[in-house]
């Protein structure tokens, strides 16, 4: 186990810049999740930690030791690939023991390590099979097994679950969390699935366009997103955004309504802002009350547990997440109130959070 320090890392492919000045320090035993949309450079950063990609500028240290020039094989890091990358000509057992055999571990130790990992992952009956005789979920487990037999300093995961169906993904997600609790190894996990990020992470690193947008624990990112990107990326259904200008101490929206400025926030007159409110913080109220809006239901999406109600309001397609079934029907008029304490106000120019 080890700490990983990433300092001022920059990466360019030819002349194309991909990562800009990334700083991140990952503590011993910490589970850090890199999230961001496709192409934002998550895999590239992970592969740089693994040593599979050259470092254009900056420094990566493992346990304080600079590893920029260290070959991947000497970094003592395990990685689980999105494609699983199992060796097709080897059995499951050989796939898992390959790293140990390269390290000239004794036969008994190898057998012990493989059996213990296979036991943890339920792979015992499959040890003699080749990868092509396995299902997607089983291949995924083998890929995990190949990583954990080694007891490496750190684990790297590059979207390990994205090729699984939803149910299996949920199951493996819990399993990865359990494994991490049991093994306690430093882990860096890449995903573009924000639920995976929220559930697994000790700390989330939200990336966009090769730049770190925010680092923090999952609920921090959820409760106090640092900018519009993070606000829109974290949370599902996604946050509602309403555009407006500050007029006479309130926020005037495009449809002529106003939103009260939350306490403790100071806006300049005329300042362009975006108000963010999560669907679960929009309430359907019984009748008109102070600060409520009248609207008509546009669309209803039942999800089983809750219901997503779409209304046309404040110039936006506003989503409401409610746990009450049958709270609304299409075409029905509703009264809606925003939870004033849970509004997020962003400067539209800088996209940064004001409060």
């Amino acid at each position: 186990m080890a700490s990983i320090t990433i300092e001022a890392i920059t990466k360019t492919f030819g002349t194309v810049p991909v990562l800009h000045d990334i700083d991140l320090s990952i503590g011993d035993g910490e589970f850090v999740v890199l999230v961001g949309p496709s192409g934002c450079g998550k895999s590239t950063l992970l592969r740089m930690i693994a040593g599979l990609e050259d470092i254009t500028a900056g420094e990566i240290r493992i346990d304080g030791r600079r590893i920029n020039e260290v070959a991947p094989k000497d970094r003592d890091i395990a990685m689980v690939f999105q494609s699983y990358a199992l060796y097709p000509h080897m059995t499951v057992a050989d796939n898992m023991s390959y790293s140990l055999r390269l390290r000239k571990t004794t036969k008994e130790r190898i057998a012990e390590a493989v059996n213990s990992a296979a036991g943890k992952l339920g792979l015992d009956p499959l040890l003699a099979r080749r990868p092509k005789a396995l299902s997607g979920g089983q291949r995924q487990r083998v890929a995990m097994g190949r990583a954990i037999v080694r007891h490496p300093k750190a684990f790297l995961f590059d979207e390990p679950l994205s090729n699984l169906d939803a149910r299996l993904r949920e199951q493996m997600r819990a399993e990865i969390k359990r494994l991490h609790k049991a093994i306690g190894a430093t882990s860096v996990y890449v995903t573009h699935d924000q639920i995976e990020a929220m559930t697994l992470a000790d700390r989330i690193v939200a990336m966009h366009g090769g730049i770190i947008q925010q680092v923090g624990n999952p609920l921090d990112l959820y409760d106090r997103p640092a900018n519009l990107f993070v606000a829109g990326f974290i949370g599902s259904p996604a946050m509602n955004f309403v555009e407006g200008h500050c007029r006479a101490g309130a926020i005037a929206t495009v449809d002529g309504s106003t939103v009260a400025v939350p306490d403790g926030i100071h806006l300049a007159e005329g300042q362009a802002v975006t108000v963010g409110v999560r669907p679960e913080h929009v309430r359907i109220v019984a009748g008109p009350e102070a600060g409520s809006y009248a609207a008509r239901v546009d669309l209803v999406e039942p999800t089983g547990f809750g219901t997503i109600v779409h209304v046309r309001l404040l110039g936006e397609d506003l989503k409401i997440y409610t746990l009450e079934r049958g709270a609304a029907e299409v075409g029905q008029p509703l009264h809606i109130a925003l939870d004033g304490a849970r509004l997020h106000i962003f400067d539209r120019e800088t996209t940064n959070r004001i409060g």
């Binding site: 592969r47 693994a50 040593g51 599979l52 070959a71 991947p72 094989k73 970094r75 890091i77 395990a78 990685m79 690939f81 494609s83 699983y84 990358a85 199992l86 060796y87 097709p88 000509h89 390959y98 790293s99 390269l102 390290r103 080749r130 990868p131 092509k132 005789a133 396995l134 997607g136 291949r139 190949r146 080694r150 090729n163």
Partner: protein
Amino acid sequence: MTRKRAVLTVLHRLAVLAYVAFALFPLFWLLKVSVTPTSLLYTEGIRLWPSQASLEHYKFVLTHSSFPTFFLNSTIVSASTAVIVTLVASLAGYAMSRFVFRGKYWIVSLLLLTQMFPLVMLIAPMFKMLSPLGLTNSLTGLVIVYVAFNVPFATFLMQSFFDGIPKDLEDAAMIDGATRFTAFRQIILPLTLPGIAATLGFVFTAAWSELLFALMLISGNQATTFPVGLLSFVSKFSVDFGQMMAAGVLALIPACLFFLLIQRYLVQGLTAGAVKG
């Protein structure tokens, strides 16, 4: 529906059969003529099988001609060429497939360029170059020429096989603790065996049946290869078809054996299951 399918199947089989017959008929004719006694060759008219078959041509070719030497020469030249070319092409193809390096574009262009000239144009300069080195009239010289001419295409062939192997596999191996070379040897190479077998087979057959350079660069009997040897049955006044065909049949044997040897690896699909699919 099922009727239509049955008809289609029958038509399909017939077409395949017709093609196979078309492709194999010359071989059959080769065999037929080789066992026809000379006395019957022109007297019996066109028949599918002679009224009396004999192995006299084979006996003659094996005992009273230089063909055993020619076979040996051809085997040495073809096998060495195949092995050397495959070795070089594997390494070059791997580099082409995996590395970005300066001048790659130009090297690829150059390799392609070599494939564009008719060989006839190059015979004279080749001879001029090899002659002072004492490499005309020698099997070594022939191997060098064959290697030079087969490496470019074989490199492209091997590159396409390497391209078909996911890069993640060697990344995984390197993270598992392998050097790039170990990853190449233990992970990539075993998966490329079908490609290597195909390249070996391709180069072997090309060298085995090469006539032009062999004819031009070799003059003495002791370094003659089999295709040139075949020509010796054509004299100014007659062609001894029976013996020529018998020699031809014998010449097929090493090629067949060779393919028998590598056909296990020609079976595709070894990489199935490497990545999600």
